[in-house]
Amino acid sequence: MVSYQYIPKKISRIQFALISPDEVRKMSATKIITADTYDDDGFPIEMGLMDPRLGVIEPGLKCKTCGRKVDECPGHFGHIDLAMPVIHEGYTKLIKELLQSICRACGRVKLPKERMDLYLGKIRELGDISLHPFQFQTMTDQIRDEAMDSMQCPHPDCGEKCKAISLDKPTTFREEGHKLTPKEIRERLERIPGEQLPLLGINPEVARPEWMILTSLPVPPVTVRPSITLESGDRSEDDLTHKLVDVLRINQRLQENRDSGAPQLIVEDLWELLQYHITTYFDNQTSGIPPARHRSGRPLKTLAQRLKGKEGRFRSNLSGKRVNFSARTVISPDPYISINEVGVPKEIAMELTVPIRVNEFNFEQTKEFVLRGPEVHPGANYIIRPDGQRLRLTDKNKESLLEKVMVGYVVERHLMDGDIVLFNRQPSLHRMSMMAHEVRVMEGKTFRLNLPDCPPYNADFDGDEMNLHCLQGEEARAEAMIIMRVQEHILSPRFGGPVIGALHDHISGSFKLTYKNPMFTKDDAYHILSRTSYKGPLPEPDSVGEDGVKRWGGRTIFSLILPPGLHMEYPSAIFTGDETSRKEDTYVVIEPDDSGRSLLRSGAIDEKSIGAFKGKLLEKIVRDFGTDIGRQFLDDATRLAIATITLIGFSTGIDEEDIPEEAKLRIQETLDDAERKVDDYVKKFNSGYLDPLPGRDLKETLEVEAMKTLGRARDQAGQIASRYLGLGNSAVIMARSGARGSMLNLSQMSGSIGQQAVRGERIQRGYQGRTLPHFKVNDLGAAAKGFVKSCYKKGLTPTEYFFHSMGGREGLVDTAVRTSRSGYMQRRLINALEDLKVLPDLTVRNTSEVIVQFLYGEDGIDPSRSVRSEPFDYDDIIMTAMREVD
């Protein structure tokens, strides 16, 4: 049974018009004359702002206009008759243009007869406005411009000279300095002949320009501005009501003063005050006037404020609504669940439900859910009868309701392992910000997610919260499973590589497992492999010791989780290409053996193989073997790495940045040398012997040379230090394998921190001619301009520390500014592009099927399925073909 109320209808046409004072009165349920709302007994006053004919807000009462109860009565408008006309704030620009384009005496449009006829003909030719709204707009703009340019009324029977009209924001019009009252303006607009209105862009069938000057003000129903009763029993009125009270009060005083023949000055003052109140009633942020305030000093929220902006009706209540079947809590990591899964606290799983339609096949199962009730985990919270009635399950009524459950009922059962849910972290900047996960119900109060899922959500665990949405239909679940599952997003549509991949410890771990192929005993090998999905036996041991102990290499263990038939060759992240890196250790070679199983022959598995954003091995497996095997590989590889790193241990300490005394001396020399060089440049600069670089003046040349010299010195210091930092050092392993940190970080710790910069220059600001009082005025040397000679290990001098803070602060400010700015840019871009879609014929079109691109992205290629923007991996195809020839 479909209720007629819900049959969707297509909107064929929307027409905007002005409302006339007559219409305001016609739709009004009552005229409002008193500014008071309630009498002493708490009853609404008739013809007051809370008149019972304006609708009902109190339960139990019936509407005096329509007789319906709360929630049924939509509310009814009232009206205020204004003592004097007032300008509507929203139309001032249009009013100004109208006044400028009509004659001040005869009210006709300032165009000669023949031009007018020509334009009127053109407008008639254009026909229905709704077919060509923009052509119509441009044409009337043009006509108005032409009429405004005329300095004299072109009609022979008039010929009145024009006077310049200006608008004092927000609502005061002046004619050559003389103030125009709304009344005068209204009279002028009234004189415009109806048949000339189309020339000015107004449809005379629905609007008259003088209606832009208000003579009666509609009063919104009380349902729009309900008053609330506080605990103390006091009533608190809505901001709109407050504003309307102001309007009424001034209106009354204006009327009294005018009728009693008060001086013109007083009447004009009151009139202006009425204008102010009505302007702020529409928009309390009109520029040029102070916003009306509440007694507490808070600006009132009037009509425009209700609609505008992020907290306004559109963005907050219509485009963005709150939803049911969702949960939010803090996230924490769990490296032992799959990337496809999300850990859900039991408490949340017992609140979120999935509707199950009872049929003959699941009858027994669903009954079990009902029997367990709402308090035992895989239970149920509601049953829904075929007539749509929801019945809440409680521990008390579950037995009686159990008997009712029949085929055709719907049981809302608890969230269970394996259910598909959507998981999301704000800001949702790309499609990977919302992915489908499988539920794993767990103890604890946080959502658990596996670490490789962090980069696409941009999540960390310093208190981040995430949202979970429980899907309610089979169709939605199927669709989410196919296109939104995490494994479908391993390859990014941005650059075609993996956004989901191994991180930090995963990379250190797999590096430790494979670099120089360490040997593991049978116990250790089984221990490591037990964490993965590998089910087979261990292969033949790689070595047998003299004592008969069998050992397996790390590469052999890693090979077990590779899909079969893989051919790959590429340098790993630690590959430098010089004699310091043996090809055996740093160049990854993966080949299948005779039985087809892939073997890691050489190289170390690091960021270049399995890392997020860079992992080539992961990318190839996902691309060639599909997302299922890709996900399996990633799950296994990360678990393998975690098992390895927990087995052999991995730690770093401050002593890892220790370097020998002689190295420290050499670094010191290098830095002193650089400082002297800078001093030389300064001397040359001061004596005028410095040769300027092309395109730069002397001062710039000095700065460039100093930056260059000091930058080089820092690098040299780093190089000297890193000669003593080898791959036996955990910090270096992390930096070189790409797990975390960089060699620059390390050289700053044990070499030199280097030049600090603000706005890309050496530090200049501070006192006159110097950065700090520790230096001489006009000292241009290295130390005085923010060169930090020390390393973090040694510690900074006070002046160095100060410069370092300056550089650091700039970084913080930059990130803060960048995020807010790029956020707004992204919002505008999304609003402009959100309705574009790619059709099956690969054209890009908008909702009205207008073509934007004839072939998606000019080449019709989906980046997430391409290889470096080519549709195929040509190199790989050639390599495969050549192997087959051999």
């Binding site: 052509q135 441009t138 009205s848 099927e849 073509i851 004839f854 072939l855 992205g857 000019e858 080449d859």
Partner: protein, 85 residues
């Protein structure tokens, strides 16, 4: 003074006016009507340079780093509206 010709600039892609037969084929290929094509104003320097009239369809062959040449079609319109209807 020789008149400056925009079409000779290396940044301006090749513009050609379609014959009515070609027009029909393009519209059929993309299953579309002229009003759903991207527009080019009559006063566009390129449209003027090749002497297009309102209602013509211009074929533009652009060099593309990823696709080699990419082909685009634009309908010549007298009244140029910035917002599509």
């Amino acid at each position: 003074m020789p008149r400056f010709n925009v079409m000779e600039n290396y940044l301006v892609p090749k513009h050609t006016i379609l014959t009515s037969k070609e027009q029909e084929k393009v519209l059929a290929d993309f299953n579309t009507t002229p009003s759903q094509l991207p527009q080019i104003p009559l006063i566009d320097p390129c449209a003027k340079a090749i002497g297009a009239k309102a209602g013509d369809i211009i074929k533009i062959e652009r060099e593309s780093p990823t696709a080699g040449t990419s082909i685009y079609y634009r309908l010549v319109v007298a009244e140029w509206s910035t917002v599509d209807e």
